[in-house]
């Protein structure tokens, strides 16, 4: 199913996140990831939701989100056209023998080494979904111990504002 990135401006009221999460749960919509953060306006927060579903479902999701009174705006962001990134930390098994190989691969992906241990490496990588997936595939043979993904977040290009 196709992934869709939705960017929302919401009023910073208590319970707004719960209303949004509740809506997805109640109506059986998927949440692949959800991020929340403050904005330039202290009364407003910005939420990015990655969801999957067909066109009909997506249309309903947007309409139902708009129906929530605390939701100010809903915009679908095309990750290929707009700025859209995800922050990932990934811990990979490493030995004295393969450490430099792993690091050289990571450079191709512009991943940063943020921790070096005797038996492991922790990388920080920022990118769109496909880049992160590709890096994961390259790391898999060495052994991925654990990872954490922030979920995608994004902004429109140019002078357009949400």
């Amino acid at each position: 199913m196709k992934k869709h990135v939705l960017s929302l401006l919401v009023e910073n009221n208590s319970g707004v996140l719960s209303r949004i999460a509740g809506l997805f749960a109640r109506r059986g919509y998927n949440i692949d990831s959800l991020t929340v953060g403050i904005t330039e306006n202290t009364k407003v927060s910005r939420i990015t939701i990655v969801t999957s579903g067909d066109e009909k479902t997506l249309e309903q999701i947007k309409k139902q989100l708009n129906k929530i009174i605390d939701v100010i705006k809903v915009l679908e962001i095309d990750p290929d056209k707009e700025v859209c990134r995800e922050l990932v930390f990934i811990k990979v098994k490493a030995t004295d023998g393969n450490r430099s190989d792993i690091i050289s691969i990571s450079k191709l992906f512009r991943a940063n080494v943020v921790d070096v241990g005797r038996e492991s490496l922790v990388f920080e990588i920022t990118g769109i979904y496909s880049k992160v997936e590709a890096f994961f595939r390259m790391m898999e043979p060495y052994g991925i111990l654990e990872f954490v993904r922030s979920g995608a977040t994004g902004l429109q290009r140019g002078k357009n504002l949400l």
């Binding site: 009023e11 009909k56 708009n66 605390d70």
Partner: protein, 545 residues
């Protein structure tokens, strides 16, 4: 000003004159303030009745109904009624007491997260943590409840907030909610497109729902139908939005509907759906049907367009009254004589039949409703409960002119009728207006305690109870699905003396046990100036619609 007094001031400014409530520890300050207030407080006997009362009140008066309950169990008892109002888009404001702010989150005595619990079926819910916000919150709550697609709003107020002293307050500050701006006017481009498709229709129908009643668009609908000669079908929630005595009236659609209506619907080539959501219970037209049919869908809630029926050809977001007004400005000029001829033929072929050929004991409920319809005056509000009584009421009691019909259509909440009738009774503006509640012996027993409100206030409400000693509609489903050996848990044959219940609550009691007695008994009931409980003895196997 004391916050509790300020809350009542806010209510008065919103035009509230009646509150249906039940007190408790967390509402003590507010109840104390009520002593000196002009607002009438009606003490329900179970909080569960309060939102239904508020709903009946709101529907009768065309305004916002208000109910109130204390924290914890009081608040949770409101939930079903709030959900009922949400499904039927009825504007109510529910006020709940909450434990002191410092105790929130500690599982204190009578603490319940009511804003969280009611989240899925309120338009908005507020937990007031700062007393200064009260004027704004109340103004917003009433604004949200009554505008756009109406619905319930909940305000949860901790006890210590009610006790605060507020020095600076402003009641006149206009409401400004950035994320809430309902569209009332239809998009002119869409209106033009709609007119184009209506013009080319040969067999159009208007599919009218509760939105017509909510936006008070009955006159516009009649004019639109008459001017363009388009027949009108209504949903259950739309019953009464178009006079059922009108020659262009084509019945109620869906599981509560007439067979002839379904046939007309199936033959239509254009469905002009206004203020309805095409629910599964009304009709979700089959894919084959919708493929050949043009669907024009007018609704104030954009999310309803394309939700139950995805293939909407012309969506118009807007208020029914305003959009119909916009459409009336244009000349459409339809030739539908042949279609009306076809409809006449269908109506004659599948007539509405009150008789019953299979032998039965007691009365024919269809005749009860037909006779009730013939005998009651035009100024009548009929509140139907849920179950077989709702089917019979919606099909055989004619709504036209000044008559109104209320029921719990969306959630199907049993026990709605008596509390909603109480609300309607207190809201009616014409003293002569007759309020009739119809229910089964199952739904009647859900709110027996509320008879105390009727008795105490000396209301003149007629309660028509279909007594078949069974949960008739569930039993019918069991029969349809599992056959006659499938009856289980639907037996109410324990011999209750309803005459004694009527006596206990100071209601007149009547029993109708044969078809011959219907007219005579109902005449007496309707002539009485007292509240009456009418027990209609109906055969347990009289399941036929």
């Amino acid at each position: 000003m004391l916050a509790s007094k300020l809350i009542l001031k806010c209510l008065e400014l919103e035009g509230v004159d009646t509150i249906f409530g039940y007190p408790g520890g967390a509402l003590l300050p507010l109840y104390n303030a009520l002593i000196d207030s002009d607002i009438t407080h009606v003490l329900v006997r179970n909080e569960q009745a309060a939102p239904h009362c508020a709903s009946g009140y709101a529907r009768e008066k065309g305004t916002v109904g208000v109910c109130m309950a204390t924290s914890g169990p009081g608040a949770t008892n409101l939930i079903t009624g709030i959900a009922t109002a949400y499904m039927d888009s009825i504007p109510i404001v529910a006020i709940t007491g909450q434990v002191n702010r410092a105790l929130i989150g500690t599982d204190a005595f009578q603490e319940a997260d009511i804003t969280g619990a009611t989240q899925p079926f309120t338009k908005r819910s507020y937990l007031v943590t700062n007393a200064d916000d009260l004027p704004r919150i109340f103004k917003e709550a009433f604004h949200i409840a009554r505008t756009g697609r109406p619905g319930p709003v909940l305000i949860d107020i901790p006890k210590d907030v009610q006790e605060e002293n507020i020095k600076i307050y402003d009641f006149d500050k206009p409401v400004n909610i950035v994320g809430y701006k309902p569209h009332y006017e239809g998009h002119t481009g869409q209106i033009k497109k709609a007119i184009r498709v209506i013009k080319s229709a040969k067999r159009p129908v208007i599919y009218a729902g509760g939105g017509i009643v909510l936006s008070k668009a009955e006159e516009e609908l009649i004019t639109f139908a008459e001017k363009n000669k388009i027949p009108v079908i209504t949903t259950l929630m739309g019953v009464g939005c178009f006079p059922q005595t009108h020659p262009m009236y084509c019945g109620v659609i869906g599981s509560h509907g007439y067979q002839y209506t379904s046939e007309i619907m199936e033959k239509a080539d254009l469905c002009f759906c206004v203020g309805a959501r095409m629910s599964d219970r009304g009709t979700t037209p089959s894919k084959e049907l919708i493929d050949d049919m043009i669907l024009v869908h007018i609704d104030i809630d954009p999310a309803e367009i394309g939700k139950n029926v995805y293939q909407t050809n012309i969506p118009i977001v807007g208020d029914a009254k305003i959009v119909l007004g916009q459409l009336l400005e244009k000349d459409i000029g339809l030739q539908t004589e042949q279609w009306h001829e076809e409809i006449r033929e269908i109506k004659e072929r599948i007539p509405v039949d009150y008789s019953e050929n299979i032998p039965y004991v007691g009365v024919n409920p269809k005749l009860v409703f037909k006779t009730l319809s013939d005998l009651t005056r035009e100024e009548t509000t009929l509140v139907a409960d849920v179950g077989l009584n709702q089917f019979w009421a919606s099909l055989y009691f004619k709504i036209y002119g000044g008559r109104k019909f209320f029921t719990s259509g969306g959630l199907g909440t049993m026990g709605y009728s008596v509390p909603a009738a109480i609300g309607a009774y207190l809201a009616k503006e014409n003293a002569d207006r007759q309020i009739v509640a119809v229910c089964g012996d199952g739904s009647f027993q859900m709110f027996i305690g509320e008879l105390a409100v009727i008795g105490e206030q000396k209301m003149n409400i007629k309660i028509i109870m279909i007594r078949n000693r069974k949960l008739g509609m569930v039993r019918q489903l069991q029969k349809n699905v599992y056959g006659k050996n499938g009856y289980f848990g639907t037996d109410l044959s324990f011999d209750i003396h309803f005459d004694k219940i009527a006596e206990a609550y100071d209601l007149e009691y009547y029993c109708i046990d044969s078809d011959d007695a219907i007219e005579e008994q109902l005449t007496k009931v309707l002539q009485s100036d007292q509240s009456c409980l009418v027990e209609c003895v109906v055969d347990e196997d009289f399941l036929y619609i």
